[in-house]
């Protein structure tokens, strides 16, 4: 339906879960929520075709979507959780250090902030080795990348894709594998990566200069700090963090492959 369905290989992960060809996911009859958000599950600026469903991660998001005049939402849970459930963790693998996700911009919005000061704060805070995971946007900026490389290992999970082009369909697989190697997951903003990290068994932290997106809606950022306060700080309570993170990812709401196929419109002949 919308090219955002292919971001991070979400459609591909779901196709694989449904027993279909992960290289060529059928068209989804609706909009997949492609990242944790505090609005209606649609990405910012996504043009919405009326009457089509939004497949959201959590019941909370569904209700919020209703309050934003988007009643056509169905909870399916996050694709990351489907992936997590179908790939078991290697037993005996040692977890070490922190995977740190600096808040990222995207094609439409650049991040404005001092990376140097943030890095100093991270190094002063984190007890173990640090892996910086940059978003492709910052990763491809040699100046920013070099700043992080001086402080630790720097990785990138891949390109999320745009208009179904250059999509790294193994994005989430790589992210899950990296998360499972670390003890902690941290960022300067509460975001999908923190929730994914908690689900993958990391202890979360959200601290440091939150930076600003160009033309960013400040009240929304403030609301996130207020509403999800339990996940903020250098060492939030892991139990509470896990409870909240799993709910946001739709734990308990994942559909069976057969149900998901029918829900996404993958059972009808004309969609195959």
């Amino acid at each position: 339906m919308h090219h955002g369905n292919h971001f991070y290989g979400h459609a591909h992960v779901l196709a694989e879960y449904c027993g279909l060809d992960p290289a060529d996911p059928p068209r989804i009859d609706g909009y997949l929520q492609h990242g944790w958000n505090v609005v209606d599950g649609l990405g910012a600026g996504t043009p919405y075709a009326p009457g089509r469903p939004i497949f959201v991660w959590s019941e909370r998001t569904r209700r919020r979507a209703w309050s934003m005049n988007r009643p056509m939402a169905t909870v399916i849970g996050s694709p990351f959780l489907y992936l997590l459930r179908s790939t078991s963790e290697e037993s005996g693998a040692e977890r070490d250090g922190t995977i740190w996700y600096p808040f990222h911009g995207w094609e439409g919005q650049e991040v404005d902030g001092d990376h140097r000061r943030l890095i100093d704060e991270i190094v002063a805070t984190e007890p173990g080795p640090i892996t910086f995971c940059l978003y492709w946007h910052e990763y491809s900026d040699a100046r920013i990348r070099a700043a992080y490389e001086r402080a630790g290992r720097v990785i990138c999970h891949g390109y999320r894709g745009y208009m179904r082009m250059r999509t790294d369909t193994r994005f989430l697989h790589k992210q899950l594998a990296e998360l499972r190697r670390h003890k902690r997951v941290a960022s300067n903003r509460l975001s999908s990566a923190i929730f994914y990290g908690v689900a993958a068994g990391c202890e979360p932290a959200v601290y440091g200069n939150p930076m600003q997106l160009a033309k960013e809606d400040a009240p929304t950022a403030e609301r996130i700090r207020r509403e999800w306060a339990e996940l903020h700080g250098i060492a939030p309570d892991p139990g509470a963090a896990r409870r909240i993170a799993m709910a946001e990812l739709g734990d308990g709401y994942l559909a069976s492959p057969a149900e998901l196929r029918a829900t996404l419109g993958w059972t009808r002949g004309d969609q195959q």
């Binding site: 169905t74 709401y253 559909a255 149900e259």
Partner: protein
């Protein structure tokens, strides 16, 4: 036409020993009609008379050897049951009906209730059709209390009155599409004085008991009747409806109206209304009718015991609250989970249902914790139960977790997946659910919204298409520019120059 024999009545026939009355139906020699006055010579009753297995079972409990007056239209099945060991006299206002009864061997008093003399007394008066069809158009029109007084007059001391009262605010009325206060009303057929809720019959079972008590007819038994006064399949005492197992009783009430309203046009779904009424403690107040057993005695000894619950199960009468399976109706639990968008609960219920009783309809399964039991084992199997529930969900005006799926087949596939099935079950056979006006209204609202959405989507796609067309046009030009050979590009450029020159020439000529 009729045997007019004024001198021979039950009372004048002399006392009969109960022994002489046992055995096959007692038919008075040369069965006869006594015209008491005010009869309706050309009028046969239009609405169905009181009947059914539950009434028959009840009447079968009356002591044998008794004299029984059956006042108003009653099904001959009931009369036959009564006549088994008892002396039966029928009172009907319609002459054709009286003749039909007489032809079957019954003693009949034909005429209006106002003319019923108290010279004949009975051990039992049965008025399961109520009092509305006892008076004929000619002569005084007795209201409810007056009718009861006349019936009381023909009771022997210690005698028993079995009377039903229609609840003018019962579920059957609330869902009725027709009016009951018009002369032309189909619901009341040939009512010449259609009072409906303007009448003065008691409006609650406790008031019915009080009213009969005030007439010197203390009540020894009282029951709410579902789904209709004419043919109940469920009788529950008000005490049981107050303190009894309400979930199971609600399932029974819902089942009773489901059978009665199959495919019938209604305002709203009577199954939900009946069930909600019972579960919320209004089962006695909103029942379609009440049955009272009263006695002409200051110290009534129950002649006909009314069990806490009695209902029909595969043509058999089952009695007693302890026979009820525990739990709540699966269909209602599923709807509750769907309305609350409680996907985990919905999946748990669907999976439990398909694992335990896949061939049972959702309205024939009771759920208590993890236990799934059949409500009525005598009902036929329903392999299309899941698809049928999908249809209820899609067309019955219920919110559910898949609001964008409007197609029943696809919703069935989703539910099958949610139930842990790999393949969807067969499509539902034509539904026999009540045909509710409210559902129609909701379907219309939904269709309007779908149409508006589809139109908006049409415009949305058109705009997207234009955008893509423009992009495609630009891409084609780029492809042509970069893919051709130098000669091709030179020739194309030349053509362009030539076209412009021709255009200039053409403009110059004008």
């Amino acid at each position: 036409m009729s045997n007019f024999q004024p001198d021979i009545g039950p009372e004048t026939a002399g006392p009969l020993s109960s022994a002489s009355m046992r055995g096959p139906r007692h038919v008075e020699k040369g069965s006869m009609i006594r015209m008491i006055g005010g009869e309706m010579p050309e009028h046969a009753e239009q609405r169905a008379p009181a009947g059914g297995d539950l009434y028959r079972h009840l009447l079968g409990r009356l002591p044998t050897g008794t004299r029984v007056l059956v006042a108003g239209p009653h099904h001959t099945g009931l009369l036959d049951a009564l006549a088994d060991g008892r002396t039966v006299t029928c009172l009907v206002r319609s002459q054709p009906d009286a003749e039909a009864l007489s032809a079957r061997g019954f003693t009949v008093l034909c005429g209006t209730l106002a003319k019923l003399a108290d010279t004949d007394r009975y051990d039992v008066v049965v008025a399961l059709d109520g009092t509305a069809r006892l008076c004929s158009p000619e002569g005084p029109q007795l209201d409810w209390a007056e009718a009861v007084r006349v019936l009381k007059r023909v009771l022997r001391p210690g005698g028993t009155l079995l009377l039903t009262v229609e609840n003018e605010l019962g579920v059957h009325r609330l869902v009725d599409r027709g009016t009951v206060t018009a002369l032309t009303s189909a619901a009341t057929a040939a009512e010449w004085r259609p009072l409906g809720e303007f009448g003065n019959a008691p409006g609650r079972p406790d008031r019915l008991a009080a009213a009969l008590g005030a007439e010197g007819l203390p009540v020894s038994g009282l029951a709410a009747a579902w789904p209709s006064q004419a043919e109940p399949s469920l009788l529950v005492t008000p005490e049981t409806l107050r303190y009894g197992p309400l979930d199971a009783l609600a399932a029974l009430a819902s089942g009773a109206v489901a059978t009665a309203y199959q495919g019938k046009a209604v305002l709203s779904d009577p199954r939900r209304l009946a069930s909600a009424a019972v579960r919320r403690g209004l089962g006695a107040e909103l029942a379609p009718a009440w049955l009272a057993v009263a006695q002409l005695s200051t110290r009534p000894a129950p002649m006909v015991p009314i069990p806490p619950v009695s209902y029909l199960r595969g043509g058999r009468v089952v009695e007693g609250a302890d026979t009820l399976p525990a739990g709540r109706l699966l269909e209602e639990l599923l709807l509750t989970a769907a309305l609350g968008h409680d996907l985990p609960a919905l999946r748990r219920l669907l999976t439990g249902w398909m694992a335990a009783l896949p061939a049972a309809a959702a309205d024939n399964v009771l759920v208590e914790g993890d236990r799934y039991t059949l409500l009525d084992e005598s009902r036929p199997e329903r392999p299309d139960g899941l698809a049928r529930f999908a249809s209820t969900l899609a067309l019955g005006g219920y919110a559910h977790p898949w609001p964008a799926i409007t197609d029943v087949t696809r919703l069935t596939e989703v539910l099958a997946g949610a139930a842990g099935l790999e393949t969807a079950p067969p499509a539902p056979e034509p539904a026999a659910a009540p045909d509710s006006r409210r559902d129609h209204e909701q379907q219309l609202t939904d269709l309007r919204r779908q149409l508006a959405d589809a139109e908006a989507r049409g415009r949305f796609f058109e705009a997207e298409l234009e955008k893509r067309d423009a992009e495609l046009g630009r891409a084609k030009v780029q492809i042509a520019a970069f893919s051709g050979s130098f000669a091709y590009r030179a020739a194309k450029a030349g053509l362009g120059i030539a076209r412009k020159a021709r255009h200039r020439l053409y403009k110059g000529r004008q």
